[in-house]
């Protein structure tokens, strides 16, 4: 069994625009949020200036439970860039979010053996504060 490692904080860089900034502000507060169309209630991620269903620009920010399931994943075992050499293997999952139908996040699954990761695996968000910054990033771990 092989422990899943976490990519380095040096990979984190935020370049927010007016639409994504509220997400990261909430993240700094350890709240996982998602924009919901104020006109038709369609949720979307990443935050973007129009609802792809009705084109409304009005959104409401919804706090999510932070729970989700693995939709699919890969186990990265090779460092494609040098910064990743010391964190192999790491798991990158596409996570279906509870309370946000059709919305997914790409995130690491940590606190697990890589062999245990599977499609449908229940997860919960875990926040990682980026040293020396007000930024927090979301990762996920198995529930329980």
């Amino acid at each position: 069994m092989t422990r899943a490692l976490t990519p380095p904080q040096s990979l984190v860089g935020l370049h927010p625009d007016a639409w994504t900034e509220p997400f990261w502000v909430a993240a700094a507060d350890h709240r996982l949020t998602c924009p919901r169309c104020a006109a038709c209630a369609t949720m979307r991620m990443p935050p973007s200036p129009f609802c792809p269903r009705c084109r409304s620009q009005n959104i409401e920010w919804v706090d999510l439970s932070g729970r989700g399931t693995v939709w699919s994943f890969t186990i990265a075992r090779h460092a494609l860039i040098p910064e990743l050499a010391d964190c192999l293997p790491y798991v990158v999952a596409v996570v279906d979010l509870e309370g946000a139908p059709g919305v997914r996040l790409v995130a690491n699954v940590i606190d697990t053996e890589v062999e245990d990761v599977h499609v449908g695996m229940p997860l919960e968000v875990v926040w990682e504060d980026i040293e020396g910054t007000p930024v927090s990033v979301y990762r996920f771990r198995p529930v329980g």
Binding site: P7, L11, V12, G13, L14, H15, P16, D17, W19, T20, W24, R44, M45, P46, P52, W71, S72, F73, T74, I75, A76, R77, H78, L80, I81, E83, L84, C87, Y90, V92, V94, G102, V103, R104, L105, V106, A107, N108, V119, V137, R139
Partner: protein, 399 residues
């Protein structure tokens, strides 16, 4: 048939290339030099001259190729058309469709499409989505902020996630991926220009190191330097030139809106997540061609990663959705005895990776009857570009 069609009105009349090198090995030759060598070889192959060229139809940013600079350096008298598909490798097949559209519209007569690739050390397509500065890393964006922290930095990792989902939904296995790698390698064995000419066994495949599950080293394409160019002109003119024309029967590019940016988004609906994104393009391509998968003699499918060949076989209708694994396991894509030989030149996986443009060259050679691994009597060839974010593309060429 609508008169809004390019069907049979143009043909590829010339193909040319440089040698293929491993990434970084083409120095001290310059990118411009490689591109122009391929162009000269292609016009010469056609029996034309540089002075006949009046247009360029490109894709993937032309690989950094600038038609104005080429015109200046090669002494092309006049340029009348320059355009390219947006996106990356997904436009490989569609670039020829763009050339056909320009010629059919009367905007140019002799149009060159090409790809030139020179990957200096420090810049690699394999990490094209790293959230860090680099030759092949796009500038940071608000959208990439959502990928960067996870260490999802390369297309191979991204497509591995799509493939993992396909395995989950349909029971596809690594043995199925191995069949693509091995059959493609087998096609490369007798080709002097192929960079990978050692036979590959199933044991070799499973002994290779894992890069991003379920993809191992041999599921990944090569990283190369080189250039490939093709010349397209009117069907009338094509008939008087050196080689039998490879007629442009149809081309299509694009994708459904909810495919979007695909691998850098991962929000595609369940019905298409584990696909190549080609289904709408395949539908248009077959309709415009008046042909279907059973008419195709040889398929040159963009093979940046083995598994995406499987997904294209499904999306172009060579087998039902979800059944590409067993389909290839039955030997259907092999040159020897396969029902639909795939990547007879060795593909991106084993010949060379020129962002899929060697596939166009191989299609032309198959239709001329001059291919190394000739499919006897080949009359219809399919070429694809992508899987990728929108656009992906397809091209049907006929004898």
């Amino acid at each position: 048939m609508s008169d809004r069609t390019v069907r049979d009105r143009t043909a590829i009349v010339g193909v040319g290339r440089t040698p293929y090198w491993r990434r970084g090995q083409s120095a001290p030759r310059t990118r411009l030099e490689l591109a122009c060598q391929a162009i000269l070889a292609a016009v010469d192959d056609a029996g034309l001259g540089v002075s006949d060229i009046d247009g360029f139809a490109l894709y993937s940013g032309g690989g950094g190729f600038d038609p104005g600079m080429a015109a200046q350096v090669l002494g092309i008298p006049e340029i009348r058309f320059t355009a390219g598909l947006t996106g990356g490798g997904g436009g490989a097949a569609g670039a020829v469709g763009l050339a056909a559209a320009a010629i059919t519209a009367g905007m140019a007569d002799v149009v060159v499409s090409l790809m030139v690739l020179q990957q200096p050390s420090g810049g690699r397509f394999g990490s094209a989505f790293a959230n860090k500065p680099g030759q092949y890393s796009a500038p940071p964006t608000p959208e990439k902020d959502f990928l960067g922290p996870s260490g999802l930095v390369g297309p191979g990792q991204m497509f591995a996630i799509l493939m993992q989902r396909h395995m989950h939904q349909y029971g596809t296995t690594r043995e199925h991926l191995a069949e693509v790698a091995i059959s493609t390698r087998t096609n490369a064995l007798g080709r002097p220009q192929a960079l990978m000419r050692a036979p590959m066994t199933l044991d070799d495949y499973f002994a290779a190191r894992m890069i991003a599950d379920p993809f191992c080293l041999f599921d990944f394409c090569l990283e190369c330097d080189g250039a490939v160019a093709v010349v397209t002109t009117t069907a009338e003119r094509a008939r008087d030139l050196r080689h039998p024309p490879a007629y442009v029967r149809a081309s299509a590019h694009g994708g459904s809106g909810d495919w979007g940016t695909a691998i850098t988004w991962m929000g595609m609906p369940e019905e298409i997540f584990a696909s190549s994104g080609h289904r709408p393009v395949a539908r248009d391509l077959w309709e415009r061609a008046g042909l279907g998968p059973s008419d195709v003699d040889v398929a040159l499918l963009y093979d940046h990663f083995t598994g995406l060949v499987l997904l294209q076989l499904e999306d172009y209708g060579f087998c039902p959705i979800g059944e590409a694994g067993p389909f290839v396991a039955d030997g259907n894509i092999r040159h020897a005895g396969g029902s639909i030989p795939v990547n007879t030149h060795g593909g991106n996986l084993s010949e060379a990776y020129i962002i899929g443009f060697s596939h166009v060259m191989e299609a032309v050679e198959q239709l001329r009857g001059t291919a190394t691994n000739q499919v006897p009597g080949a009359e219809v060839a399919l070429v694809t570009g992508g899987p990728a974010p929108i656009p992906v593309s397809g091209l049907v060429l006929t004898k």
